[in-house]
Symmetry: C2
Subunit: 357 residues, 2 copies
DNA sequence: GTGAAAGCGCTAACAA
DNA sequence: TTGTTAGCGCTTTCAC
């Protein structure tokens, strides 16, 4: 009952050799059609499935990838980021015949155990990691042991093997959008400029202004530290220097700005427009009313795992051009909404609505 | 850089044989202390870790368990049940040196692929499953292939290898509680009586009444079909026949009853008391105000994985008595709260408060 | 106490 | 086109 059929069994039943059966299950050519049929029949008859351990042993490939989430389980569960990402990773992996192992681990002791474990036991062929602030050590450790690792989100300026949104392009789009709507003094609420995303978003902002022939006014570039309350405090100053639109680098700051503007008795977006950045779960309540840049969550999982699988395959299994590059920058989507001025006045939350001309 | 040290390497460096090194890493005795030291030193020097595939190959044990969740990723993510359960499973597994593979799969095609896969590829040694309505096929399939499987929640009346709450005991406690508070006509809102949990909870209810010498009045036993609106509709009838307390078999029904009672202008719990059952996520908003039976979520994961690991070990690795039993019934906790009558009147949500004497 | 050797189920040269 | 053979890295008899 419990003893599973082996290659040997199939070979015997189909009156061939192990090698031939192996060729058949691996879809290699150089097997006569008739033989192949016979083998297939035997496989079906015995309900044979290759033993993955033996296979891994012989090839050095496990057909298994790991997903590492250096966060607490509570964080994972409360952040809507993870479900679609995890989902798409497993889907891609399973379709390619790979299994997925999941590590949600937080404490330092666990992570240091993990990298030893993963790098050396050869249980998995590679990993996708959703890094947190101090995951670089893990990443480097994988690198040292030649364990392919793709991160979701770039965590270092000089890095390869990551999937991230195109921060530059996103900012460019956002600010372009405001300019096209005839806003002329667009401010930006930045977050730590030393962060990669912050850096690129600021570049995108500047580029958009330059292309439109608008001046880059240092007064309109303000560090909101990625924090709602900081943004809230900085916003009045922006209004004082005559800004008519704000591009907030994340939604927390967009909300802070929104509140400040409303308290000053101004309307959004008639007096001051805001574009946010769809990256903060707790902002969900306000999101349906704010124009934001939407992150392609499913693509994160999809592309990271595809990129990883591509690194694992010797023959480049895909014709997708991007998979050959050292990293992937995903396009974002600008979701234009008449901002909450409208919603508040009418007591509704419109889905999509016309732009101000 | 990438070539990992093997047993052979360690043996060579420590001037012993593979067998001896194997004995050392497996902590077997029959190795001279001095030799053991030498081997250990070599292991440390080479930073050796055994290759899990080779090990699995030789022993037939993978030291890896699977967790199967036949649900959509969205369901998993929105239900607070899963985070603590998953968390505790991984923790227990990792502590025992086991890895965890996770399958969140919903569609029938995927599940049928999965059972083939799991049963035959010998990638994992056993599984913990959080079954949904139609997971019995999977379970049976695992059984057929001698792949140990523990389910969280019993899904069939005649079943072993599961961890569930003690439904009988929980109901007994709940109804006892009401009786001790001097309620004399305790009604029960049941759900499908053919379900295991429903069956046991009903038995607990009856037992409590009998022990207290109270009559079992068929008028007070009403099928609420586990549904809020059904409970809502049935509740006035219960009041008509003079019930003074309601034990609802789940929180949805507790909420339905609550609304009905309030609309009739009665107070909870002064006029009619309610005890709910802490098993419906969407009820969370109302929960802090209702006396409920709390499910031990962490224990689900903890005990299911322990039970599984115990099935996998040849030598019963634990002295825990319960692990030898065919299944585990976990005790629940009665969380007594002054019900929302109080909260509504005072506009607050008390944490814990005194019982009515 | 220790080592030699067989074998777990597969793949991948190499031979035929 | 097919079969033979030698591993992959470990465990596990069985001699010594």
């Amino acid at each position: 009952m419990s003893d599973l059929p082996t290659l040997e069994d199939v070979a015997r039943l189909s009156k061939t050799s192990r090698s031939t059966v192996s060729r058949v299950i691996n879809n290699e050519d150089g097997v006569k059609d008739e033989t192949r049929e016979r083998v297939m029949a035997a496989i079906r008859q015995l309900n044979y499935q290759p033993n993955r351990n033996a296979r891994a042993m012989a090839t050095g490939q496990n057909h298994c990838i790991g997903v590492i989430v250096p966060r607490t389980i509570t964080q994972v569960h409360s952040d809507p980021f993870f479900a679609p990402v995890m989902d798409s990773i497993s889907r891609v992996a399973h379709e390619a015949g790979y299994s997925v192992m999941l590590w949600i681990i937080e404490s330092a002791s666990e992570t240091s155990w993990l990298d030893q474990h993963l790098s050396q036991t050869r249980q998995i062929d590679g990993v996708v990691m959703i890094p947190s602030l101090n995951s670089e050590r893990l990443f480097r450790s994988f690198e040292r042991y030649d364990l392919p690792c793709i991160t979701i989100g770039r965590f270092a300026r000089q890095q390869e093997n990551f999937v991230d949104i195109d921060n530059f392009g996103a900012a460019l789009t956002a600010v372009n959008h405001l300019i096209e709507l005839n806003y002329r003094r667009v401010a930006i609420l930045t977050g730590r400029p030393e962060s990669n995303s912050g850096h690129d978003r600021l570049l995108g902002y500047k580029e958009a202004l330059q292309r439109a022939g608008l001046p880059i006014d240092p007064d309109l570039i303000v560090d909101g530290e990625f924090e709602e309350n900081v943004a809230y405090e900085m916003t009045p100053g922006l209004i004082d220097v005559g800004c008519d639109a704000i591009f907030a680098m994340n939604d927390s700051m967009a909300i802070g700005a929104l509140h400040a503007i409303q308290e000053l008795g101004k309307r959004v977006p008639e007096d001051i427009a805001i574009v946010g950045f769809d990256d903060v779960p707790r902002a969900s309540a306000i999101k349906p009313t704010l124009t934001t840049i939407r992150q392609p969550l499913y693509k994160f999982g999809e592309f990271s795992s595809k990129l990883l699988l591509n690194r694992l395959q010797t023959e480049p299994h895909s014709d997708d051009e991007f998979l050959k590059r050292p990293y992937v920058l995903l396009p974002t989507e600008l979701v234009v909404r008449e901002s909450c001025g409208f919603a508040l006045r009418h007591g509704i939350m419109p889905n999509d609505s016309p732009q101000r001309a």
